[in-house]
Symmetry: C2
Subunit: 414 residues, 2 copies
């Protein structure tokens, strides 16, 4: 349908945080337009705009209702798309701003965390064919009954990936970091920028404390096979490409992540009867609390200790919810530990490469770091440790696997 290559690009709040920044983005877009690229550009609210709106709402009421809160917050993105489009016009290039509604992003009615049900790309394709740079408000959608919704956390990334999926186009996420690193550069100064990683690895990075991309957007990219490029809008570093695993050379580990914002809730000496883990999960899910990890070990007396790793912000609420559950399942006690952290190694070769786990544990031991819990998946090994040892743990593992010298290639660029 479209003769030229199409790309979907997303600019975060910092990238459009001032009139000067908006002008810079417009210039980049116009340059690429003249090079023959068709661009769909998803934009977040200007940095701080969302917080200012939210702050006004909270001055009026502690509990703003989600419908009106979504109506309020979506104005932030509407302002940035109008301004960015004006800046492109100012450079003499065709562009059109589209709200979520105008762009055909249909969602369900779950205000503040709506799910995209369908993307009607007719208008989008039409405007591209008319020679426009199409500038779309991120984070927002519309229900079939014309109610304005927001997509919740990771919203604008989700918009961009969903549009890329619908258009079968690649997606570039412009942000304020250069891409995905083998470890957080503020902890490991010689951490290496990764050229390519797989969706699965990126999901583990996102779930393990890396803030570069929201897991939701990576899941959508994986589902619709959208190549995702994460890069900085402040320089020309090519960033990190995220693709299907079969396009990549296998390497044992691609990175180390640390997550300090967790807590551990343990139910001790739970009776070993079926259905108990389900009972616990359900009671937390009903309260909207996500379990990040659940670890259960059988003791010699046929009772279990069930440990849950949760977000730190859910700590007290989870304990209160689990007190009656604990009594029901005959547990001794509910213990809350808010002084823990998680260190993870991530890589598509973790499961298939012998010795990765052993080297990780040895690296921690040599720093005198005690491992309290271990959890593994195909592409990750996570250890729960004391929080004050987290940075040392990340550095030790990064060194052990020589990640500052990591080389990895895409073997199948089709």
């Amino acid at each position: 349908m479209t003769p030229c290559p199409v790309v979907v690009r997303k600019y975060g709040g910092t990238s459009v945080g001032s009139v000067e920044r908006i002008r810079k983005v417009a210039k980049d877009l116009v340059n690429d337009h003249h090079r023959g690229l068709q661009q769909v550009v998803v934009v977040s609210a200007m940095a701080k705009a969302t917080d200012q709106l939210l702050n006004m709402a909270l001055q009026i009421t502690e509990k703003p209702r989600p419908r009106e809160l979504d109506m309020l917050l979506t104005t932030g993105e509407q302002v940035s798309i109008a301004l960015l489009t004006m800046a492109v016009h100012h450079l003499g290039c065709k562009a059109i701003a589209l709200t979520g509604a105008q762009c055909g992003i249909l969602t369900d009615e779950n205000y503040s965390r709506a799910k995209i049900q369908n993307v009607d790309t007719a208008k989008l394709r039409n405007e591209l064919c008319n020679g426009n740079i199409v500038i779309v408000a991120g984070f927002q959608g519309i229900t079939p009954s014309q109610e304005i919704t927001t997509l919740g956390r990771g919203g604008s990334d989700t918009t961009a990936t969903a549009l890329a999926g619908a258009l079968q186009a690649p997606c570039e996420i412009y942000t304020d970091v250069n891409g995905v690193y083998t470890a957080d550069p503020s902890i490991v100064p010689d951490a290496k920028l990764l050229d390519v990683i797989s969706y699965e690895e990126m999901l583990e990075f996102a779930a393990s404390g890396s803030k570069v991309l929201h897991p939701r957007c990576v899941e959508i990219a994986n589902k619709y096979n959208v190549p995702l490029q994460v890069r900085s809008s402040f320089n020309d570093v090519p960033g990190t490409l995220i693709v299907k695993e079969d396009r990549l050379e296998k390497v044992a580990i691609t990175g180390v992540t640390g997550d300090a914002k967790i807590c551990r809730v343990a139910l001790t000496r739970v009776r070993d009867v079926p259905g108990i883990a389900a009972r616990i999960s359900r009671s937390l899910a009903d309260a909207g609390i996500c379990i990040r990890l659940i670890i259960q070990g059988i003791r010699h007396d046929k009772t279990n200790d069930v440990s849950l790793i949760l977000s730190q912000q859910d700590a007290e609420r989870a304990r209160d919810i689990l007190q009656p559950v604990a009594r029901e399942v005959g547990a001794d006690d509910v213990l809350l530990d808010t002084d823990v952290a998680k260190v993870s190694v991530i890589g598509s070769g973790v499961a298939s490469t012998p010795g990765v786990a052993g080297r990780m544990f040895q690296a921690l031991a040599s720093e005198g770091i005690n491992i309290e819990l271990i959890s593994t998946s195909e592409v990750r090994i996570a250890c729960i440790i004391r929080r004050d040892q987290l940075d040392a743990a990340v550095r030790a593992i990064h060194r052990e696997f020589d990640l500052n010298n990591l080389e990895r290639k895409e073997i199948n660029a089709g």
Copy 2:
């Protein structure tokens, strides 16, 4: 369809200019809700919000395109309806915020000055029946192809009056003045607040420099026979009711207005042949310039002086446009006078009461004020004078007609 009385209310930017002001308006609304009134509340953007948005646009480009400018500016009202609705919720009362699109305000595609084509009241009536205070974004509408438009000057008043017309309900305009006065109280300290005036008189007030209401909203109220009440949101003064003339006792004059923001452009010694006035009007209309008054007097040598009264802001542009026209019609010259002002007396009895004009001219003469041009209509006599004499002229006329003691009644309250 609706068992309780319905009223449409409009609050301007000052009335919702801060979190405190929004809380105060919410309280008033909830009180009246509990008294059994069904309310549709049209809200402007918070004071200064529109200017701030416009200022950002102008930092990016001197000439923002109207489509994106409308998309930008409409966020101002979307913010205020969300916040006001939250404030009503906070007081435990049902309310729903509706954008122009959600409220069924369909317009043409004339961005920045769209005309309302239709109001689909189905959703509005439905939400009222559900017991909601319905809070509507003023100034904005949507085209059949889902483009966001603004209604231009007087926009939120226009929204309110159009909704009142569609719902066959009365309309209350809450603003930062107490209503319509016999003269501007800053010039005539003992000017009297008018209890009632007719649509025709209000139109002349609006066209003659009073800023209380925009003529467009008065025209819509007149067309759909909507009783308009103008009052302050800062006190309980009942304000001014604007109704059909046949409901009112006739009085010679209801007020005096002064307008300093005009200019006079004169074409001298124009040949007296048909079509010249049309030629002049068309050339200005093509440039979007409104002629407020056109006065033509025949001289003894069969040439005319044609005087045009225009907005001061159009002065230079009008002169440049009229230079070639003047040569075409054989005029001697185009003279621009930016030092003039207009003083008007307004009243439904102006045409039918002998002596009004004479008393007005005498009042001006006794102050040594020279009248340069005179124009009359059914409900108005306007004189062009020197600008530095305007305030003295307003005061002299106000005194002459004893307007500080004006009494007027509604004779037909049906």
